[in-house]
């Protein structure tokens, strides 16, 4: 590689040492949690990095999964019930609108687009109080429907921004040919544009799913029945009463974390493209 040609041997060695240090520092926290999750509390208390006695066990995972006060299994199911619709709705709705912003010309389009994009920067704290009051009034507090709708609305600005940029980059000729043949806007969108945009839709969906899955704040405000708590709300409840049960806490953490990590591993390409959507035009 050309870029490394100018480097002396010593500099290359230094680079590898630095890379190793980075890997070590970033790995240790995860390694610690993993070790805590597969070892009995007595061994964790002596330091998870000590291996003079090492008895791997699956008990912590079972304990977290079937936790008497707050089973993670139920939380996983609940989180899926929220995250799947809260991914499909905004991605679909925002893609449709994004196509409109990319292709239809009308007065006030660009200011409206900028307004929608500006909503992206809002902190969730900005909607918390009125959202709670509104849901309370219509009896949707502590219901998944309310939470799904809020997540859907909240995911729209980013998805719309991302999809609109993607649509703008698509060649317009195919659409024009279809239009000449008499196809309607909706037909063009669903039969020509959507199939072409599948990679972008995958990126948007992956990111939205991860955000909803990882969300804590909105769930904390809107969902409070013990049986309805989502996965992220349950993890802190595994702490234990008289002492911190690190094994169970670590196992629960790993279970909840596994979902985004698996999604990332499978969809890495799309995830990174979505993230980088910020810088690339």
């Amino acid at each position: 590689m050309m870029r490394t040609v100018g480097r002396s041997h010593g500099q290359k060695v230094a680079l590898y040492i630095a890379a190793g240090l980075i890997a070590l520092i970033w790995l240790i926290p995860f390694l610690g949690v993993f070790m805590a999750s597969i070892r009995p509390l007595s061994e964790i208390n002596r330091g998870w990095w000590k291996f003079d006695s090492f008895t791997p066990t699956f008990k912590n995972f079972i304990g977290a999964w079937n936790h008497p006060a707050s089973p993670i299994s139920k939380g996983m199911l609940n989180s899926l019930k929220v995250a799947i619709p809260a991914t499909i709705v905004p991605v679909l709705v925002a893609s449709i609108a994004a196509y409109g912003f990319a292709r239809f010309k009308f007065r006030g389009r660009d200011p409206l687009f900028i307004l929608v994009v500006a909503l992206m920067t809002l902190p969730q704290q900005m909607i918390a109080v009125p959202m709670f009051q509104m849901m309370n009034k219509i009896g949707a507090v502590d219901s998944y429907l309310g939470l799904i709708l809020v997540h859907s609305a909240w995911g729209i600005p980013w998805t719309l921004f991302f999809m609109r940029n993607y649509f703008m980059a698509l060649p317009i000729e195919v659409e024009e040919a279809a239009r000449v043949d008499g196809a309607s806007d909706w037909r063009i969108f669903f039969q020509i544009i959507m199939p072409m945009a599948l990679p972008a839709i995958a990126s948007a969906a992956v990111l939205q799913f991860m955000w909803v899955w990882s969300d804590f704040f909105l769930a904390l405000i809107l969902i409070y029945s013990p049986s309805k708590l989502l996965a992220t709300q349950r993890v802190p409840l595994l702490r234990g009463v008289y002492h911190v049960d690190w094994g169970i806490l670590a196992a629960g953490s790993i279970i909840v974390m596994a979902v985004p990590i698996i999604v990332f591993a499978v969809m890495q390409r799309y995830y990174i493209r979505g993230m980088v959507g910020w810088v690339s035009k």
Binding site: I22, A97, L119, L122
Partner: protein
């Protein structure tokens, strides 16, 4: 006419959801922020009152140490986090581009990015725990008495900041890695032929060419720190004694623990204004590409 109406339907679902669940609550929050808890219309006086509460700004902190109030804690957080995020992200991206196996290390670093922040908070608490955490044990090798770093006023906030760096650096690294790929090889080739040292190449070519990426990293990091909530809630709950309290958490406390929606609205609106101001350059970049 029929076409225009059909086309309007493309926008209706998205804009309706935004109007009901985002725009209306935002306006409502701004409105609430102008009223005192007694229902009096106070406009900006309310802001002055809330922002000078000790949980927001505690001038006694400057004599006795933490807590300084959520506002100052967020400032400390940003002042430490921003330069470190930029530096670490850039340096990691360059190092890991140039070593074999860099992609694997990147994936490890990236784990932080896909970790739910709640889990991040638990991991932090575990890392810094006086009995079972590795950080106090390593510090003990240097003569420090092991203690739970998140439980002491003088170290709680800094522990959280270190943890948030660990969780957020991947974002900056990924953006810089993508940015590096856009720099064509011939630029480097020319520099090498001219006999430029790696340091000069880094500071005179790589850094300036990545300036647009740095802009995005700074904005996004700023927004991320402003909104930081989960890891604080889980790891310290803002404690001990408010020593690691932050604005987003204080907003939650006002709204849902002290049942003072007006004070909560003030904090939220304040966060929003700062967020909007910080992201103006990014909007300009996004809007200016028609």
């Amino acid at each position: 006419m029929g076409q225009a109406r059909g086309r309007a339907l493309f926008f209706v679902p998205a804009l309706a959801l935004l109007a009901i669940f985002v725009v209306y609550p935002v306006i409502n929050t701004v409105w609430l922020s102008f009223f005192t808890p007694e229902g009096e219309f106070a406009l900006l006086k309310n802001y002055a009152d809330v922002l000078s509460e000790p949980e927001m700004f505690d001038s006694r902190g400057f004599e006795r140490g933490f807590p300084y109030g959520a506002l100052i804690h967020n400032v400390i957080w940003i002042v430490l986090h921003l330069p470190l995020t930029v530096m670490l992200g850039l340096v990691f991206a360059v190092i890991l581009r140039d070593v074999k196996g860099g992609a694997i290390v990147k994936s490890i670093v990236f784990l932080g990015m896909v970790t739910p922040m709640v889990v991040g908070g638990i991991i932090l608490r575990f890392l810094f725990d006086g009995n079972v955490g590795i950080v106090p044990s390593v510090l003990a090798l240097f003569g420090f008495t092991p203690r739970t770093l998140t439980a002491y006023p003088d170290t709680a906030l800094f522990s959280l900041i270190a943890g948030s760096l660990w969780l957020w650096t991947p974002f900056s690294m990924v953006l810089y890695s993508a940015g590096l790929e856009t720099i064509p090889d011939f630029v480097y080739e020319a520099a090498v032929i001219d006999g430029a040292s790696p340091w000069r190449i880094f500071f005179n070519i790589t850094v300036p060419l990545l300036r647009p990426v740095t802009g995005v990293v700074i904005t996004m990091t700023f927004l991320w720190v402003l909104k930081i909530f989960d890891i604080v809630f889980v790891a310290t709950m803002g404690g001990p004694g408010g020593a690691s309290n932050v604005l987003a958490l204080q907003m939650y406390m006002y709204a849902f623990r002290q049942f003072n929606p007006n004070a909560a609205a003030v904090v939220a609106t304040f966060l929003m204004i700062v967020a909007l101001v910080v992201s103006i350059p990014t909007f300009k970049a996004a809007g200016g590409e028609e």
